[in-house]
Symmetry: C2
Subunit: 442 residues, 2 copies
């Protein structure tokens, strides 16, 4: 007889709403492959070229060759053998952070990870000692963060978010209450630039205030920064939390090369320059503790995959801002185009009353509609109107439908955005008609 | 002021003996870079060629091109975009298992992982519901397995091992006692061919008996198989547990391409064809549950890294046995040479009484000496005799010194093995003299 396992005997994270969300959203897009997807947060692939992989690998090989004084065995060993747990492109990542973000990171404080997701899990798992340890996060929140917390058995305490990002007063309230209840808020997860899904960005004062709060209430800040690079070229970027952090070392900075490098390399990293002290007085970097956990998780990140990103960094003087000029222009253009199309479909003051945010960067727009958006409606939209989007409740992890949905623009051409928003408008009008009809009947 | 974290506030696995072991062993080899290392279990790198990476990538690109009818966008998307959580080379891995191991695996039951280490963690984390769930493992045991269990908060119950592998009577005793104590032994970890460190292999009858026991006592078998391929060419290989398992589906098969493919790709996999059933009656494969956990851990394994291994599989008709003829010959030769050198240094019947096992494959030999081997002695050996090896106590995770040490041969040339065993013999004789002297004095 086949072996049967009861799902109730498996890890609880498999029942978490966030995992159900990811699964459901995947299933919908597979079930309706002909629907136009405004749901996937993938980078644009029109500039992809498989030859780049070979070029980047050759560049990185030459770099190692030069560094080692032409030692070919060293080149082969670096790329093809097991490698350093913390990674091999940490020096290039440090240069990249200095060039693009004004972050001065000691290369030894960097752990190269399998995408930013592993960096998230490593950090949360390491900070989770027992049931009292929890993560604080503004809601709505990126599902990868709440998912990693679920897998690390770490409770997430929601904090309110307003149009200018995390609500700092609510953060103080949540942290203070948690401590009064015997909990230990270990860290606050935050995307300071163009949060997913809400598109909000924190201003400079709020960033400074957040770091001061972290010091005062003794928690870390986990700064996730996947979209910060894609600012309008004429905008003066606000410094990252890590750039402002300096010697206070309150900020653990999480990075991803999935959007700015190549998603297929699956390279991310974490800067963890905090000091840890053991009972016998030995001090080390938090990065070294993360590396120990990584040695039990994935041993090390593929040096071949690291070399691809290392080569791309070398090809562009360690500036991915420079490497992403076309991409930034495209994402900015897509965003403007989507906002124009929404304005065309839903003129101010006319019914139905549909509104949306106007982020200055990132991959997403959040649309507010006059009816609650649940998964049934998404299925209907996919089947009948052939357009996919994401009900916002999936980013709250509580299954309670909100009157909001997220549109993803990164993966599309302007023509596709026009078609997608046309279809979305048809869907929204149809739903408003259904509502009026129901009100008329009742 | 710098942020300080007390290590006692971090995850308990960071204090586990196995993590301390990995750390200590790394430190020793870094501290004594001039010592000849018979400690690292790395594959031989004399055959490495960075051009292979490019060739394998091109081969896999052509494969996708052919499969998709020449769709270049599909080729770029497959290699460079985010990808399927369960991986993209699952079909090639299934062919590889059929060709080399006689395992008939449904490709849908395969999850491609970041090395075998991620496969181990995924499986253990998924099987860990609460404190009662535990892993059973013969001791001495590969540290990656006990390390993954520590990170998954899963207790490990040790089972005795004898010269023919896991002691099945002791296994029954341990499982029965555990259940009587309210524990749930979820799985038994086993390396059926050339276990690390002990070099033991299970006979056919023992394999059949183990699967029957797993059925009877309702636990899974986690079969880890990193060395099975490196058998003597004239040996008739014993079928893997997974090949014997068939429709019983008791065996979760863990695989690694670090030794047979390329370590730098960091590609492993797990075959998990067990059925899971949820409260609402939905059934799915355990592989799909592992994939959900993976989506929170690393999202997906780098398709570029997968393509490198996929290309190597394609280059050799999906047989890594065929691809590793030179390597197998080398490892077999190294093993014979090490056994010859040990016999030359320590002739039977002469003092000091030093013995060793004679595995028919794998990377390791275990040497038994007349004195307890602790970490102090390793440091002394490194400093004074310039040879590194691994005290066997590190594979028990209890810090209690045994009279045994492990020699690793995979990474070395025959000349290096000669030098290494010369130095080891000097060290052993010196220690025996110290012992006699101490006995004379006391």
């Amino acid at each position: 007889m086949h072996t049967q396992l009861d799902t109730l005997s498996l890890h609880e994270s498999l029942e978490s709403p966030v995992i159900e969300s990811m699964n459901f959203l995947n299933e919908v897009s597979q079930r309706f492959p002909d629907a136009l997807s405004m749901a996937a947060g993938r980078p644009y692939e029109g500039f992809f070229d498989t030859d780049d992989v070979h070029e980047y690998l050759r560049l990185y090989e030459s770099h190692v060759r030069a560094q080692s004084g032409g030692d070919e065995q060293q080149v082969r060993r670096t790329l093809l053998q097991y490698g350093r747990t913390k990674g091999i492109i940490h020096d290039l990542i440090a240069k990249n952070l200095a060039t693009d973000e004004g972050i001065e990171a000691d290369p030894e404080s960097i752990v190269v990870t399998v995408g930013c997701q592993e960096a998230l899990f490593l950090t949360l798992r390491t900070l989770r000692r027992d049931d009292r340890d929890c993560l604080v996060a503004p809601m709505p929140c990126y599902v990868g963060a709440t998912g990693a917390a679920a897998l690390a058995d770490m409770r997430v305490l929601p904090v309110a978010e307003h149009s200018a990002g995390i609500d700092l007063d609510d953060l103080i309230r949540v942290v203070t209450e948690a401590k009064a209840n015997g909990l230990r808020p270990r860290a606050c997860y935050v995307v300071a630039d163009f949060a997913n899904p809400s598109g909000t960005s924190l201003g400079l004062d709020a960033r400074e205030a957040l770091i001061r709060l972290a010091e005062e209430h003794d928690f870390l800040i986990l700064e996730d920064n996947p979209y910060g690079l894609f600012q309008a070229p004429d905008a003066a970027p606000t410094p990252t939390l890590k750039a402002l952090d300096g010697d206070r070392r309150r900020v653990v900075h999480l990075g991803s090369y999935a959007k700015t490098g190549l998603p297929g390399a699956r390279i991310g990293f974490v800067v963890a320059d905090q000091r840890t002290t053991s009972a016998d007085g030995r001090t080390t970097l938090l990065a070294d503790q993360l590396a120990k956990v990584k040695s039990m998780l994935t041993v090390n990140t593929s040096p071949i995959a690291q070399a691809v990103i290392g080569g791309k960094l070398l090809a562009h003087g360690c500036s991915l801002r420079a490497a992403n000029v076309r991409e930034t222009e495209l994402y900015q253009g897509n965003l403007r185009h989507a906002l124009d199309e929404l304005a065309r479909q839903f003129p101010t003051g006319r019914r139905p009353e549909v509104t949306w945010n106007t982020p200055s960067g990132g991959f997403f727009v959040v649309v507010t509609v006059p009816f609650p958006v649940d998964d049934e409606l998404l299925m209907h939209s996919a089947r009948r109107h052939r357009v996919l989007w994401t009900p916002l409740h999936h980013f709250y992890g509580d299954g309670r439908p909100r009157r909001q949905l997220r549109l993803s623009l990164s993966y599309l051409t302007p023509d596709e955005i026009t078609v997608g928003i046309d279809r979305l408008a048809d869907f929204i009008r149809e739903q408003c008609d259904v509502q009026s009809l129901q009100k008329g009947i009742s």
